[in-house]
């Protein structure tokens, strides 16, 4: 404190004393030895100690530092001073300690010390002290005050937290108020405790009740849960199920019907993990909160709503059915007279006595009638699409053939109207694709037909086909149809595919449209999962782009299964109770070179079919009217199939909507439906379609002839040898009988079922074929009636056939027998 230059010694001490005496605060110097003897203490120190003078002070303290301190404080303070001096570069310390004044009062002082080495006294401390009792008291009071304040603040905070917690709890309670009872369940130990129970509502739980979870809840299920829900309830409370479900769901619930005292109400059990599994180390729910809720009102409301919806749906379905029925009936009501008009019209047109002028009128009547009919057909198509009954087939078809058919029709129309028509295919394409070629053709003909219709003479119609993509055995085909016709305005384009829309309604008559062609086309394209786009400019023309994805077929051969169907090889039977319709069918078919026989009732037709079949000269196509008195078309078809088996295609001709009976008809053996009346233009397409289906059906259900055994009754040895040869070529074993008698004996001498069929010559010595057949049929054995007996005869007069049928023969083959005919007959008749 006096600097390093100041040297304390005997000479300089009085200077210090002089300085100290002037100081207002206490100042003293003591030696830093064991005795700690004071070298000097100023008046202020003596005053602090309440002493009168230095002598008095020396008496009180022994004039040592130790003597100045309260004995209880000395050790601690001394230690603190030494530590501070040792660690402080400036050798300064600060301590506070108690002293005992002369009057015995204990006072607090502060002490600023400085240690220094002197030559004269060794280590000494210069110390400044002052009485800080009041200051300290003040300071402590302040501290206490602060402490108190802090405590208060803390208390307040705690109170606030408590309040918040309680509010939260209240809020949760409020939110969970729909739980009539709540429990906490530890799944691992199967223990539960009930936190809330509704006393107005017994579920066997009381507040704070500890229970065994599985036992309590199983009892509850057995006691209160209605039987149909019980199994589900028990499954729901299975701890494994709970853990498993709560691993992925935040909350799980089960609704059930509760029965108590005969009263039923819906209740829901809900569970949530007390800690979510992802927050846990093992990701498993160990404890759950369970709540019971009364959901009776909601459930009953929901059930009532569902019931109302169900009724509404039923009403809507009924209405829709009524609409469909109406459309179907309407179209029939209109089509029936239309058939008469078109039928009579074509008969009149074919009448050589009809004059030229009348013929012109008739032609106009005919085209108007056909237009009207096309509107009705479109409406029916539309209703079929809307009711989802239009089915897209998935069958292999020849792409080139489909295009050729489209081109034949369109190029003809273009030629008639004086338009230039081009069709290009670009890039590689397959010969065969899998899809619905009829619908595809319909779409293309519709769009191309429109192009022709709306393009004035001298214009152009072009048709381009390109395969644009191929992946995964599928190919995307793009059909672009452009014309240089009248075009459409931009404003009209969005309405193009709306029903009954036409840009200029006055042009309807001029262009003869139904207004349904485009919507139908678009619907069909969409049913085929395709797209249709159109761009157009008024006065410039229109371009349609249809994109359709079809499955690819690897088939390469261009020869088609139906390509061989030639009109002159066909023999058709038309059955219709309306003679006009029969006559119309005959005229139309003759136009395309097909021979057609007619029958005006089912039974009459059956006789004709029977006769033809017996001679193995079946009709290859039978057209049947659906609605006929006595025996309808489906029944007639069924009986025809019983006679001819899978031979011949049967087409039902109808003016009705056939969707309702399609399945029944198919089961009866009908191959397809064709709307009435027939038109020469599409008749071959329809027939080919029917044959294609028939051929498919034929692939199945044929008997394998190899290893079969046949009894051949034939007296002429050359014929017999040929027959045996033909039979052996297909590995058919045959026993030969030279006459009817031997045949009967051979049949009788072998066990039942030994012969798969009998080939019976009619004219034989000893016993003829008829007699032999009657005898076999009359035998008392299971195969007597069943074994197919096939007549072989040179006589193919109807009376003979009839006689042989009556005798129990199944078929009648004319000699000489063609091998293929024989095989086919055997295949058909052998079961």
């Amino acid at each position: 404190m006096f600097g390093k230059k100041f040297l304390l010694n005997e000479e300089t001490l009085p200077i210090v004393e002089q300085l100290g005496s002037q100081m207002p605060g206490g100042f003293f110097i003591y030696k830093a030895d064991d005795e700690e003897k004071l070298l000097y203490a100023n008046k202020a120190v003596i005053r602090i100690f309440g002493c009168d003078d230095l002598e008095d002070f020396k008496k009180l303290t022994g004039y040592t530092f130790r003597g100045m301190l309260h004995p209880e404080d000395y050790a601690l303070i001394s230690n603190s001073i030494n530590k501070q001096i040792d660690t402080n570069a400036d050798k300064i310390d600060y301590v506070e300690y108690r002293i005992i004044r002369k009057d015995g009062a204990v006072r607090w002082v502060d002490d600023y010390g400085h240690f220094t080495e002197t030559d004269a006294y060794g280590g000494v401390y210069y110390v400044f002290i002052s009485d800080i009792t009041e200051k300290k008291a003040e300071r402590e009071a302040l501290l206490r005050q602060q402490e108190l304040e802090e405590k208060l603040a803390l208390q307040e905070q705690l109170l606030h937290q408590q309040e918040q917690a309680s509010r939260m709890s209240q809020m949760i309670t409020a939110m969970a108020s729909d739980y009539r009872s709540i429990c906490y369940v530890v799944l691992d130990t199967d223990e539960g405790i009930c936190y809330r129970a509704d006393h107005t509502y017994t579920n066997t739980l009381t507040v704070d009740e500890h229970f065994v979870f599985s036992q309590k809840f199983t009892n509850y299920a057995n006691q209160y849960v209605a039987e149909p829900y019980r199994e589900g309830f028990l499954q729901f409370i299975n701890p494994d199920t709970i853990r498993e479900r709560l691993a992925t769901e935040l909350m799980i619930s089960y609704r059930y019907l509760r029965v108590h005292d005969g009263e039923e109400s819906y209740e829901m059990l809900r569970m949530a993990g007390v800690r979510r599994p992802e927050d846990r180390g093992d990701h498993i729910v160990h404890a759950v909160g369970i709540g019971f809720t009364d959901i009776d009102k909601e459930m009953r409301e929901t059930m009532a709503r569902n019931e109302a919806l169900r009724i509404a749906l039923n009403v809507a379905e009924e209405a829709n059915k009524a609409k469909t029925a109406f459309l179907s009936n309407m179209s029939h009501e209109i089509r029936t007279p239309m058939n008469a008009i078109i039928g009579l019209n074509s008969i009149a047109l074919n009448d050589p006595e009809t004059g030229k002028k009348t013929k012109e009128y008739l032609e106009k009547i005919g085209s108007s009638a056909q237009h009207l009919l096309s509107i009705i057909n479109d409406i029916l198509d539309m209703s079929r699409i809307e009711s989802g009954r239009m089915i897209i087939r998935h069958e292999e078809f020849s792409f080139s053939k489909a295009l050729a058919q489209v081109n034949t029709i369109i190029s003809g129309q273009c030629r008639d109207k004086g338009l230039e028509y081009t069709c290009h295919t670009a890039g590689k394409m397959n010969d065969y694709y899998i899809g619905d070629d009829m619908k595809l053709r319909e779409v293309l003909i519709n769009i191309l037909g429109n192009a022709v219709k709306f393009t004035p003479a001298g214009g152009k119609v072009s048709f381009d086909i390109r395969e644009t993509a191929r992946f995964d055995r599928k190919a995307t085909l793009r059909f672009t149809i452009s014309d240089t016709g009248i075009g459409m305005s931009k404003e009209y384009l969005p309405k193009l595919f709306d029903s009954f829309s036409q840009e200029d309604s006055s042009s309807t008559n001029r262009y003869g449209s139904t207004g349904l062609g485009m919507p139908i086309t678009k619907s069909i394209v969409e049913l085929m999962n395709g797209t249709i786009d159109v761009t157009s400019e008024k006065g410039r023309g229109t371009t349609f782009i249809v994109t359709i994805t079809l499955d690819v077929s690897d088939r390469l051969d261009a020869a088609s299964e139906d390509g061989d169907l030639q009109p002159h090889e066909m023999c058709v039977l038309a059955i219709d109770d309306d003679p006009i319709a029969c006559e119309h069918a005959r005229i139309i078919l003759e136009q395309v070179g097909i021979v057609c026989e007619t029958a005006t009732s089912g039974p009459e037709a059956l006789e004709m079919v029977k006769m033809r079949h017996a001679r193995r000269e079946d009709y290859n196509l039978i057209l049947v009217d659906w609605r006929m008195p006595e025996m309808d078309g489906i029944e007639t078809s069924r009986r025809i199939r019983e006679i001819i088996g899978s031979e011949a295609a049967i087409i039902i001709l109808t003016s009705y909507n056939w969707d309702e009976v399609a399945d029944e008809a198919m089961a009866a053996g009908v191959d397809t439906f064709v709307p009435k009346p027939l038109f020469a233009a599409n008749i071959m397409t329809e027939f080919r379609e029917a044959f294609r289906r028939r051929n498919k059906a034929l692939l199945s259900g044929k008997a394998d002839l190899a290893g079969r055994r046949v009894l051949l009754a034939e007296d002429i040895s050359v014929n017999a040898e040929i027959m045996l040869m033909i039979l052996s070529a297909r590995d058919i074993e045959a026993d030969l009988a030279e006459n009817g008698r031997i045949a009967v004996d051979l049949f009788a001498s072998h066990h039942e079922g030994y012969y798969d069929a009998v080939l019976m010559d009619m004219r034989m010595p000893e016993m003829d074929g008829l007699e032999a057949t009657r005898t076999i049929r009359g035998m008392d054995r299971s195969d007597a009636k069943a074994v197919p007996i096939i007549a072989l005869t040179a006589n193919a007069f109807d009376e003979d056939v009839q006689r042989s049928m009556q005798a129990g023969l199944n078929a009648h083959l004319s000699k000489p027998v063609e091998p293929e005919t024989l095989y086919k007959t055997l295949e058909d008749l052998i079961q």
């Binding site: 007296d715 002429i716 040895s717 050359v718 014929n719 040898e721 040929i722 040869m725 033909i726 070529a729 004219r763 010595p765 040179a794 000699k815 000489p816 027998v817 063609e818 091998p819």
Partner: protein, 112 residues
């Protein structure tokens, strides 16, 4: 030696006949050989000339069967014709048809 070619030259519908025999030439020729040697030809002539039209019909019918089957058209045509006449026991002069049948049959024998 009976051959396909000689039969064709004679007028048989070889394609049809062979087809009935599943195109087995040897088999076909064997049957034709058998047919040609059939006693029924001579018996038919004898019966008809003797006025036994019923027996004649039986024989003609059998011959019709085998000759038609083998597509021996030049002979099966008159045989078919005579069969129908005999079926109805028509009282007529059968000699023309019989001669035609026998001469065609003789032509066939010469092929052997």
């Amino acid at each position: 030696m009976l051959t396909i070619d000689s039969l064709r030259a004679w007028g048989a519908d070889i394609e049809t006949g062979l087809n009935r025999c599943i195109n087995n030439e040897a088999f076909y020729l064997r049957l034709v050989d058998k047919c040609i040697r059939d006693e029924a030809f001579v018996q038919l002539k004898a019966s008809v000339e003797a006025g036994d039209l019923a027996r004649g019909f039986e024989l003609a019918h059998a011959l019709k069967g085998s000759t038609s089957n083998l597509a021996l058209d030049p002979v099966s045509r008159p045989v078919t014709e005579i069969t129908e006449l005999l079926r109805s026991r028509t009282d007529t002069d059968y000699s023309v048809l019989l001669n035609q049948i026998m001469s065609e049959r003789d032509a066939l024998i010469n092929l052997l």
